[in-house]
Symmetry: C2
Subunit: 458 residues, 2 copies
Amino acid sequence: MERDEMIESQENLTEIHKEIHKMIEEGENGLVERLSNMHPVEIARVIEHLSPETKREVFDLLKTDTASEVILEVNDSSREQILDGMGEEKLTDMVEEMDSDDAADLISDLSEEMADSVLDHIPKEDAEEVQKLLEYEEDTAGGIMQAELVAVKMDSTVGWVIEHLRSTSEEIGEIHNVFVISRDNILVGSIPLSRLILAKPETVVSSIMETEFPKVTPDLDQEDVARIFKKYDLVAVPVVNGQGRLVGRITVDDVVDVMEEEASEDFYKMAGVSHHERVFDPVSKSFKMRCLWLIINLATAVLAAGVVALFQDTIQALVLLAVYMPIVAGMGGNAGTQTITITVRGLALGELTYKNANKALRKEVLLGLANGLVIGLIAALVSYWWNGNYMLGVVICLAMVVNLMIAGLSGSLIPLILKWLRIDPALASSIFVTTFTDVGGFFSFLGLAAVFMRYGLL
Amino acid sequence: MERDEMIESQENLTEIHKEIHKMIEEGENGLVERLSNMHPVEIARVIEHLSPETKREVFDLLKTDTASEVILEVNDSSREQILDGMGEEKLTDMVEEMDSDDAADLISDLSEEMADSVLDHIPKEDAEEVQKLLEYEEDTAGGIMQAELVAVKMDSTVGWVIEHLRSTSEEIGEIHNVFVISRDNILVGSIPLSRLILAKPETVVSSIMETEFPKVTPDLDQEDVARIFKKYDLVAVPVVNGQGRLVGRITVDDVVDVMEEEASEDFYKMAGVSHHERVFDPVSKSFKMRCLWLIINLATAVLAAGVVALFQDTIQALVLLAVYMPIVAGMGGNAGTQTITITVRGLALGELTYKNANKALRKEVLLGLANGLVIGLIAALVSYWWNGNYMLGVVICLAMVVNLMIAGLSGSLIPLILKWLRIDPALASSIFVTTFTDVGGFFSFLGLAAVFMRYGLL
């Protein structure tokens, strides 16, 4: 079911893509109308696949309100290309259409000169709001909040609040809560719309407001904001400064993007690719981070090769060792990756702490022992069947047990140490663990073989 | 900031954990009260760390409404342990407190006998709702929707709807939209609360309802449901059957869980661990899937070792080859993992399709060439500095270029082929790609060395 749906929508997209290409080639006839029937997200997907020049051409055909949504939906490189050389007037019109948080995001992407110019041309009040938002770090509550919200005084009546909503609803967009503030703008309460709707017009808001509800400060990391939304099943949360003054609100649609980003980020890091990298980014952009990652990996591979170099005489005496040695090292790498994945997630979810770490360590070492015995025995049987040398099988099995225990120990210990050293465990763990399992694999296998040879057992 | 916040909350949890342990040891004094002040999510985190027996003891102290939330928040293995041997009465009381979607989730975890018995004891209407929900697949819109919603007839007035909300609001929980249905239960409109609140009491709902809005069918995959929420920034979506009849609604808090799950699922699969596995799962549970994955990997490692075996004479002639051969193979594996990560994500986001695949392929092969040249040159310089054999450096560099291009080609082609064959690309790609880069690395390096030797160049 799912796959059919997905394939269908992908093929539809390719069809639309082709159709629009044809329309562009044949002149604008009908293209404007065709685009006006599409959702901004779909337009963004189509635009991403066009050449930089055509991107700008198609974008220029969009109405301002559509354009202001599309520019927020396209990927980073397309946004750069479209904004590059865009007229100040069009830019200003688009920014005026946006919520303050989106406007701040877009303006932070512009050159300083262009940003100042746009801020000069939008209404002064909006410009001030945006400028305040620009002061917060991008990945904090302040960076994702918007200034548009409904706040009323404690002595307002429900009837008055509803009249107030009527006059502001267009400007503010989705409203889920009305916030109640004291005279000096301190947040004192919150009223969900579902409660407001059931109250009588003459009721004073302070008598129906909730006073115990989650709120966040602007400097809170966006990941923690997402965790609070998830914990309390929120749709919107107010943002208050150190003095308790209401400065903005965060809605669930912005948090949804944060969640997706944060959930997959760690795993991109583990593979040494940026989570911003997309499949159709230019080669030059992908090259930088990927190459750096490979160079770091090369250093660890050379270190492991150094271990093999120590045992050249042993290999010379029995070349078969060169055949089995990558198996022992590689299986350690596979098992280590499994342990890192679980450990990094445990840290991210807050389930794994320094205080309960020894329990996780014991578990992973025990798992290494169990997996090492199973995998080692199978490998030993394969080698006996293949080469008829059962002592070689014994060496393989012992080395596999040692190396998978090294994988379990290093795979759980290294992320914890990195976190303690304030280094991102997702980014750096796999490098260190692979070094351990490569060095451990070569050393245990070739070392055991050398010892067995010395005593005439191999 | 973020880390301090996190560490603090983790340590708080450990403190609470200790405190509760002490309370349990000293008898129940104060424990009931202590628990009643905690959020169900926090209670769930504490319970997860207790022994199976203590889990049940602590759980029995919870009030029914808290217990019904905690049981939904604890991890799978804790839920099993708590439910194991729980009295039918307590279970029935808990289920009665739940929304229909949560009740269905819990009941699907019970033995058939227990499930029937619970369904017999809850009100007939609720049991019917739950039974209907149980018929849908777990990972579809039907599996995550709830039956609780507000639906009104087209000729209702706003005043009547608000009276109706007043009488049902406690039972239904968070309300974001009122759905409008025709006489035979066909969904014809939707009214956001923010619009309802601004209308006059005597207005007929059909005159203010939205008629164009997203809706989903019960068999739609939950991943597609999440995509629709993200695309349209929704808070709730109605679920309609094939005849257009309203059967349920999905709220954003359920979709948030789906998003987190789906975003990280692919990367767990890539490492051969279940995304259900948690850091403190019992060893036996983790062992099964991890071991199976390692056995499959062993098969591919043996295949690659077979390639090395073909070149035993070459290695015997120059043992140094055994030192460098894992470097070439390993770097291919690293580069291949980068390509798979980007390709699998491109497929999941719908950006990469069969029709634009050749563009992605060309990019990845080109990247392989560029990275291969850089990494190959560095490796060649290292080997020249280390062993003074510059022809060996040439062989390493050439083999590296070949293998990193193999990594780019197989890393982008294999996920596409697997998807076309309807095999999960995230799960199986890394096995196949590693096989290609191991076999390719050993074959290109040792093969080139053999050719160079034959012509007296090495």
